[in-house]
């Protein structure tokens, strides 16, 4: 378990106490002063009632501008002392609109009636418009800006994790630029693939470039019915991100400042003592070689011998950890280097500053925002700093009473520079596993780098090899809205132009290491690369919407629209070796003959017409039809267009006359159902065309590497759209004047005609079997959202609190796949549950060598150089009783001794928030997690398997106390042997029951404590509102994984991807960060 005391948070709280105390004192003094100055004391009393005339308990009644407030009693009564008879009362209660009541004359028996605010009136963003929540018939979830507030993060995706039910975001590491695919409702397609379509203000965009403070709401459209209006790219749902609306009225300025300190959530707990490490290394190696051969090198390049080990043991530290050995003619190393500590920082600051201005008149309104975010990198010497800037400007002009023109401009950019290894890009964490030996040191006595250092990241010290990544994005969307016939018809037309530029300048410089004084050896490259690409997009949407209510009973709505989009992506990469001046990477300053220029790109276009028809009878019976006729450039002529309709219906039971009796407690109860089928247009452009690529040969012909082309791939047969058909049933309920709400959805999504390889052909065919629409998949799941909010009286002041959370699940099964023999070799078969793990059943350890010798033949799983099993080695169940432990024919029907031992799909994911607010002090916590997930670490998970993977790898401290010996037969790990987890064909690397991990986790993503200064007090300072907050992110994590390892963050267990990783070594990735933030928000 991982419970660190959040020292910073505590310290912050202690530090801020005197300040708060002082503030409170000042405040109290002022009240006293006011009281003293009062001329006339009046008692104000009355009752607060709800829409049905029922008393409202615990409602807050405050006198505006004084800070005086009381809560109502069980009869809805309140009594307040006031110094004036014409006071303005502000009455608020959860679930109701806040009411302003002007006292005039009567000061007793005041009756204030509250209007229900419960979220039925709430408006939800849907495709090409908005809809009242009560009229929704599809599966839609939405969060609003407050969920994202006061959580400074490098990007929006990180902030959204866990906030919306069945929006599955898997952050594979902690890098500030890391994004995640937006997945809605689980596995989409094993063919063309596909994720949710992400729209920012109605146009596809990258949420990571967005200023999170600009976001007003994030909505996900989960079922076919809600998404159908977006057609083929919405087959797997839509994420609608809406930015804040232009202001109106008084100019308003918001300033937000925050300062954070980031730390790694997990610092690997490894042996770093040189001798201990070297001894363990030798033991692991020796054991694999059947106790016959000691290593002569550590990973082939660091000399090793028993005699050296002996000297390591007796080394006198005063001689230094790198010593020149005359007789060997080289340096010898006696280090105890902690490479993680040497190259990482422990605390990294981050700063965010943002400003938002809005205002305007009835004729013209504006909204302007800017953000600067800076995050210091995690590396000590050559830090990977991240900077992000955003500017958004929105303006709206009402040309006349029916015509509005507006524009929305967004300029975003970020820069991220990070160190590279001298010999390429590959992952530093992985390099530490295979080269960062504690016995090695960074420097020789003369200050030169050691051989091991250059391999294990000396370039991270001298900063000579780096990547400087720059992303720039600009987008403008002008639009017109016309209402020529009042509210009956609304025409909207917009046009978007967007351009994205990405440029990555990467340079590697040679590093020099030394084995002995006066000698140097070169390592790495002298190479400069620019990887650049740009994307040009334009698109337009035109819609017309008619709304009409007939006879006060029939609500009709018609929306028709037209959409056109075009996107072109151009790539340009250049590279050359031979940097003349290491610090000046530029193609003008290079002399290498090895160079390469690559272009490339693609384009796609879409055209579509769509409609939505809605009908509601007295808000009781709801019907909705969506559909789209879509054209895509990605499909051949005869398949270019597709029509995708959907339908949904809702029944507001609570609106029925027969439910009248339940109105006092049941605000709303609605049943929903929807069904629809959408084409998945997510195939790569040109997939259906025969094309021939031209590349440069790697072989040298006539002295040069020359271009070549070759046979085009065999084109797919009769390619058509994959289809995703979703059935969704749901229920929404709101109870107790909006205090309790519930939403539940169950769905089944069947993806048919998935684009997968066809029936295998004899290999003499000589080409990959063309893909076709051959496979089917079913994903079932559900989502449950519950919320409770209320307030009670605490010392005369209401304490507001709320608890809300979502739990969701999904599971996928293959219905059809071309694998008649059901081979288990990394492919699918009919009936397969995605994520299933096949493995052996571990019975434990052999108690004696005899037992091992007499047991079933386990030689299929390598256990040592000559494949010997001894006491303490793993013992597997001979499940099929054939006397041999193996994988049989590796098919479902003959899996040998294997069975399904688990499933690595994340199940029962959840996110919930608890918050409370009292006297301007707010506290909230947001928790996110996965309820069930099995995990079997891949063999190269060096942080897990340690020396069992490679003897020279990491040595997790807790492992080194927990492996089998005769004295410790009940340990977790087997007989200590290197290389037994080097592959899945080895005794420990083979998936098996004993080492299956529980990767479920619960993570406290955010805890925030804030204090809003009294308005009256701030007004004196000319500040409208001011709030200070302390927030901690990712502070606590609980996971089943921690039972046997403390080296992983449970979110970073998959194969690493992206910068600074090389896709091997699960967990060898940019660490997840936790942070402590102090922030100040002002508005004027």
């Amino acid at each position: 378990m991982k419970v660190g005391v959040p020292i910073c948070l505590l310290a912050g709280a202690i530090l801020s106490f005197p300040f708060l105390g002082e503030a409170a004192a000042t405040f109290a003094a002022r009240n006293k002063e006011q009281a003293a100055n009062s001329q006339q004391q009046t008692t104000l009393s009355g009752r607060v009632l709800d829409g049905d005339g029922q008393p409202v308990q615990n409602a807050t009644v405050a006198i505006q501008g004084t800070g005086k407030a009381v809560s109502t009693d069980e009869n809805g009564r309140f009594v307040l002392e006031s110094d004036r008879t014409d006071a303005t009362l502000v009455v608020s209660y959860v679930g109701f609109e806040t009411k302003i009541y002007q006292v005039s004359g009567n000061t007793s028996d005041i009756v204030i009636q509250l209007d229900g605010k419960n979220d039925l009136e709430e408006v939800v963003v849907v495709g090409y418009g908005t809809q009242k929540k009560i009229n929704l018939t599809g599966a839609v979830s939405q969060i609003n800006s407050e969920v994202l507030e006061n959580r400074p993060q490098p990007n929006l995706t990180r902030m959204l994790q866990g906030t919306l039910p069945n929006l599955n975001l898997r952050m594979t590491d902690g890098s500030p630029t890391r994004s995640a695919a937006f997945n809605i409702r689980g596995i989409t397609s094993i063919g063309a693939g596909g994720n949710a379509m992400v729209l920012i203000d109605g146009v596809e965009g990258d949420p990571n470039l967005l200023n999170p403070n600009d976001v007003e709401s994030v909505t996900i459209l989960k079922d076919a019915s809600s998404a159908a209006i977006y057609g083929s790219r919405a087959a797997f749902g839509v994420v609608l991100i809406t930015t804040k609306d232009v202001g109106k009225g008084k100019p308003r300025l918001d300033v937000r400042l925050s300062q954070s300190v980031n730390q790694r959530t997990v610092v690997p707990n490894l042996v770093t003592d040189g001798y201990t490490w070297a001894k363990n290394f030798d033991d692991a190696f020796y054991a694999w070689y059947d106790y016959k051969t000691h290593p002569i090198t550590v990973n082939a390049n660091f000399p090793f011998s028993l005699e050296y080990l002996e000297r390591l043991k007796n080394h006198d530290p005063s001689q230094g950890d790198a010593v020149y050995n005359e007789s060997l003619g080289r340096y010898e190393y006696f280090g105890s280097t902690d490479w993680f500590a040497a190259l990482h920082r422990d605390r990294m600051p981050a700063t965010e500053a943002s400003i938002t201005a809005s205002g305007g008149s009835e004729k013209a309104k504006y909204f302007v925002s800017g953000l600067y975010y800076h995050q210091d990198g995690i590396f000590r010497h050559s830090p990977d700093d991240f900077n992000k800037w955003n500017v958004r400007a929105k303006g709206e002009v009402h040309l006349n009473d029916w015509l509005t023109f507006d524009n929305n401009v967004d300029v975003s950019t970020y820069q991220y520079g990070y160190p590279l290894l001298a010999n390429g890009d590959a992952g530093i964490w992985r390099y530490w596993a295979v080269s960062g030996f504690p016995i090695a040191t960074m420097y020789n006595p003369d200050g030169t780098f050691t051989r091991q250092a250059v391999e294990a990241g000396a370039s991270f010290v001298d900063g000579s090899s780096r990547s400087d990544y720059d992303r720039f994005f600009v987008r403008t969307t002008p639009s017109v809205t016309a209402k020529p016939f009042g509210d009956l018809v609304t025409f909207k037309a917009n046009f978007t132009y967007a351009k994205t530029f990405n440029k990555d300048k990467r340079y590697n410089n040679y590093l020099y290491s030394s084995d002995r004084p006066g000698q140097t050896a070169r390592f790495g490259n002298s190479l400069y690369r620019t990887l650049s690409d740009n994307t040009t997009y334009w698109g337009s949407n035109i819609t017309a919407e008619v709304k009409k209510t007939l006879n006060d009973a029939h609500d009709l709505g018609v929306l028709v629209g037209y959409n056109i989009e075009s996107n072109r992506w151009d790539n340009f990469d250049a590279q050359r070796d031979g940097l003349l001046v290491p610090g000046k990477p530029d193609f003008n300053l290079m002399d290498g003959l090895n160079y390469n220029i690559a272009g490339g790109g693609n384009e796609w276009k879409y055209l579509g017409v769509f409609y939505r028809l809605t009908y509601a009878y007295k808000s009781r019976y709801l019907l909705e039809f969506n559909g789209r006729y879509d054209g895509s450039s990605k499909f051949p002529d005869n398949q270019r267009y597709g029509f995708f309709p959907s339908a949904s219906a809702g029944w507001n039971i609570s609106e029925e006359p027969f439910m009248a009796g339940s109105r006092t407690w049941l605000d709303n109860l609605k049943l929903r159902a929807s069904y629809g089928s959408l084409g998945n247009g997510n195939v790569a452009p040109y997939r259906y065309m025969e094309t021939m690529s031209v590349s440069k040969t790697s072989v040298i012909l006539n002295g040069v590497q020359t271009p070549y082309t070759s046979i085009p791939g065999v084109i797919p047969d009769g390619l058509t759209w994959e289809k995703a058909t979703t059935l969704d049933v749901g229920v929404d309920a709101t109870l107790f004047s909006g205090r309790f709400n519930l939403t539940f959805d169950w769905y089944s999504r069947i993806t048919t005609d998935m684009f997968t390889a066809g029936q295998p052909l004899p290999n003499v065919f000589g080409a990959a079997v063309p893909f076709g629409n051959y496979a089917d998949l079913k994903t079932n799941g559900w989502e449950l959202t519950l919320g409770w909010q209320d307030q009670f009286d605490a010392g005369g002041t209401p304490f507001h609190y709320s608890v809300s959370g979502s739990l969701w699940d999904n599971q996928s099964e293959i219905l059809k796949f071309n694998n008649p023999t059901k081979v288990l070799a990394s492919t699918y078969y009919d009936g397969m549950k995605l994520g299933e793990i096949w493995g052996y059943e571990t019975l434990g350890f052999f108690a004696s060598d005899e037992e091992a010798a007499n047991w079933a033949d386990q030689s299929f799983l390598l256990n040592s150089n000559t494949n010997e099993y001894l006491a303490g080695d793993l013992k597997f169940a001979d499940r099929n009783g054939d006397g041999v432990i193996n994988q049989g024919k590796n098919t479902v029907d003959d899996p040998g001794d294997r069975m399904i031992i688990g499933n690595n799909s994340p199940r029962y994911q959840y996110g919930f928030t608890v918050s409370g607010n009292w006297k301007g002090v707010g506290i909230s916590a947001f928790v996110q997690g996965i309820g069930k997930r099995d995990w079997y670490f891949a063999p190269e998970a060096d942080l897990f398997y340690g020396p069992y993977n490679r003897p020279y790898g990491f040595q997790p401290k807790i492992m080194m106390d927990d492996y089998w010996t005769e004295e410790n037969p009940n340990a977790y790990w087997p007989r200590y042997r290197g290389y037994t987890a080097l592959g899945t064909n080895r005794s420990l690397g083979a998936p098996q029951t004993r080492y299956l991990q529980d990767a479920s986790y619960l993570r406290v993503k955010d805890i925030t404590v804030n204090y809003t200064f009294p308005e009256a007090w701030m007004n004196k300072l000319g500040i409208g509102k001011a709030m200070v907050y302390l927030s901690g992110q990712n502070l606590f994590t609980f996971s089943g994984l921690y039972k046997h390892t403390d080296n992983f963050d449970p979110e970073i267990i998959e194969n690493p991807a992206g910068d600074m990783t090389n896709s091997h070594g699960q967990g060898d990735a940019y660490p997840m960060l936790k942070s402590y933030t102090l922030g100040l928000n002002f508005s004027f």
């Binding site: 082939a300 276009k605 290999n763």
Partner: protein
């Protein structure tokens, strides 16, 4: 309203027709408009080189399976229970790529000579493709068009070897007649001479295979192939385009061929080119000088014994030749020996002595041929010596062997072939008077012809580790030779450090267990009497892989057809003896 109508109209008219959705890739070629010019043909045929040339590893390490080499562990094929399940699926994509070209290149807008030249290149590579299939599987199906998904021919059975080889010969003849003559001084492209030289290799292979594999009942056709081989080789010899690289420095000329960055195009006819400036690198130096990265290849003592003395006499005629100390047996031998394995006085480029390393080899005959002298390259994959794939020396050997097999070899031919090779190696080229008893005893008891024995000796030595030996054994039907023990240097006693490079300091010691206090600079080689042994118990020759059961039954002259391929096409017939 006006704006809207206007913009709707504008956008609709932009997109009113299907043309809007018609996109052609702008960064790729489309077959319909390709194959239009000679440059197009060249662009396409470059792919054959890209896809079919062997890697540096494949071009040098194949002989690890042969009789003269020891490695960490024999392949499963030789010492394990190999079956058709272990055999991977065969890959035919290179053939499809060639056949697609041959189906499309014939555009009359291109001059006929150019068309034929590139068709010749394609057919050369098709022969290359098929010979590799025939060598591995014997009978294989012949295809000369790209197959469609519903082609019945996908499911046909194998064509007989003689049919396939007849097509191969036609392809090679077409190549030799139509590929352009001009010599390529970079040795990187196929010219007419290269095609002829390759033809001599293939025809010799097929001729001898048929001659010695009498079970095929094709022995009657062997001489036709041998004649083709001799004629093709003769054409190369007569053309005079190439000659042996001989600068009169017998101690270095031979190795220069293998460690030069630029191919020595006087002799090297075709090569896999590597280049430091272009960062075209391979890892051979590392692999041949690593305890773990490579397979610790080493030559066996039996083969080392075949190297003659510089005076032309046989080493094996010396008394006690087999129990000489390493430093003694290396003296005064055919100069190619010290250029093939690490020998006396070998130094790296920085002047440091480099005796054979028992950490990198098991027998002590540490292969030097492909390693560059720069020590840096022992730990980094940046070696840049060009790897010859076809040398004029082989053409001489092909010619000599074909002639000898035809019974047409004599002293005149000796002087034109073997004589030249021995001269270059600084070995007295005198013609031996008798058949070598050692060669007969250890290798070829069935061969009585002294010329043929000498040609085979010469071929083994000259082309050592050039990826030809294993196929030589196959065509001579000498697969049994791989069962030979992996014999290393002579060790007079255990626990006694020995000097290997003659500089007086000890380099290796044979022990039963690594001592706790090791002597610096000494490699300790553990004799565990399981995998490693000394032939006399506590003294004698190092024997590596002693616990292996290497066996070569007749069925192993061919590999099994992969089980998975038979599942996909049940009409394929499994090779004899395999299941």
């Amino acid at each position: 309203m006006l704006y809207i109508t206007a913009s709707v109209g504008l956008i609709l008219s932009l997109a009113s027709c299907n043309d809007f959705l018609e996109t052609e890739p702008f960064d790729k070629l489309v077959p319909g408009s390709f194959f239009a010019t000679e440059e197009d043909l060249e662009l396409y045929t470059n792919s054959f080189y890209q896809q079919m040339l062997p890697s540096a590893d494949a071009a040098t390490q194949g002989d690890g399976m042969a009789d003269y080499s020891s490695i960490t562990q024999s392949s499963n094929f030789i010492s394990g229970n190999y079956s058709s399940v272990d055999e991977g699926s065969w890959n035919w994509s290179n053939l499809r790529n060639i056949n697609y070209f041959l189906a499309n290149y014939n555009n009359e807008a291109i001059p006929e000579e150019a068309r034929n030249h590139y068709a010749g290149i394609a057919r050369f590579f098709r022969a290359w493709f098929y010979i590799e299939k025939v060598q591995r599987y014997g009978n294989v199906p012949w295809y000369d068009t790209p197959l469609t998904t519903d082609d019945e021919a996908l499911y046909k059975t194998q064509d007989p070897r003689e049919v396939v080889m007849q097509h191969v010969l036609e392809d090679l003849n077409f190549a030799a007649e139509n590929i352009r003559e001009a010599k390529d001084n970079t040795s990187s492209t196929i010219t007419r001479q290269v095609a002829l030289a390759y033809k001599s290799r293939i025809a010799l292979y097929e001729g001898t295979y048929r001659k010695y594999h009498t079970e095929l009942n094709l022995a009657g056709t062997a001489d036709q192939w041998l004649t083709e081989a001799a004629n093709a080789a003769k054409m190369v010899m007569d053309a005079g385009t190439y000659s042996l690289y001989n600068t009169g420095r017998p101690t270095s000329d031979y190795r220069t061929l293998f460690i030069s960055e630029n191919a020595v195009s006087q002799e090297v006819m075709f090569a896999m080119v590597f280049n430091n400036a272009l960062k075209r690198w391979h890892a051979l130096t590392w692999k041949f000088n690593s305890a773990t990265y490579g397979s610790r290849w080493g030559l066996n003592k039996q083969f080392i014994n075949t190297y003659l003395m510089t005076d032309g006499s046989r080493f094996t005629d010396k008394a006690g030749y087999d129990e000489l100390l390493f430093v003694d047996e290396m003296a005064n031998r055919d100069n190619r020996l010290a250029q093939t394995v690490r020998s006396l006085g070998y130094k790296r480029s920085d002047g440091s002595p480099a005796p054979p390393n028992f950490g990198y080899t098991f027998t002590g005959y540490h292969i030097l041929k492909w390693s560059m002298d720069d020590k840096r390259l022992d730990g980094i994959g940046e070696a840049y010596n060009t790897i010859p794939l076809m040398r004029y020396a082989e053409v001489l050997l092909n010619y000599a062997e074909a002639k000898a097999e035809l019974g047409e070899f004599d002293d005149m031919e000796w002087a034109k072939t073997i004589g030249l090779l021995r001269q270059r190696a600084g070995v007295n080229a005198a013609i031996p008077q008798t058949a070598d008893p050692y060669l007969r005893e250890v290798y070829f008891p069935e061969i009585a012809d002294k010329y043929l024995l000498e040609i085979r000796r010469e071929r083994g030595i000259e082309l050592c580790y050039e990826n030809l030996r294993y196929q030589d054994l196959m065509r001579w039907k000498k697969g049994k030779l791989v069962e030979m023990p992996w014999k290393g240097i002579y060790v007079p006693a255990m626990d006694r450090p020995m000097d290997l490079d003659g500089n007086g300091t000890p380099d290796v010691s044979f022990v039963s267990k690594t001592p706790d206090a090791a002597q610096p600079g000494v490699t300790y080689f553990v004799i565990d009497n399981n995998i490693s042994k000394l032939s006399g118990g506590t003294s004698g020759h190092v024997i590596w892989g002693a616990n292996e059961e290497r066996s070569f039954e007749d069925k192993k002259y061919l590999y099994p057809i992969s089980n998975s391929d038979i599942v996909l096409n049940p009409s394929l017939v499994q090779n004899p003896g395999w299941k």
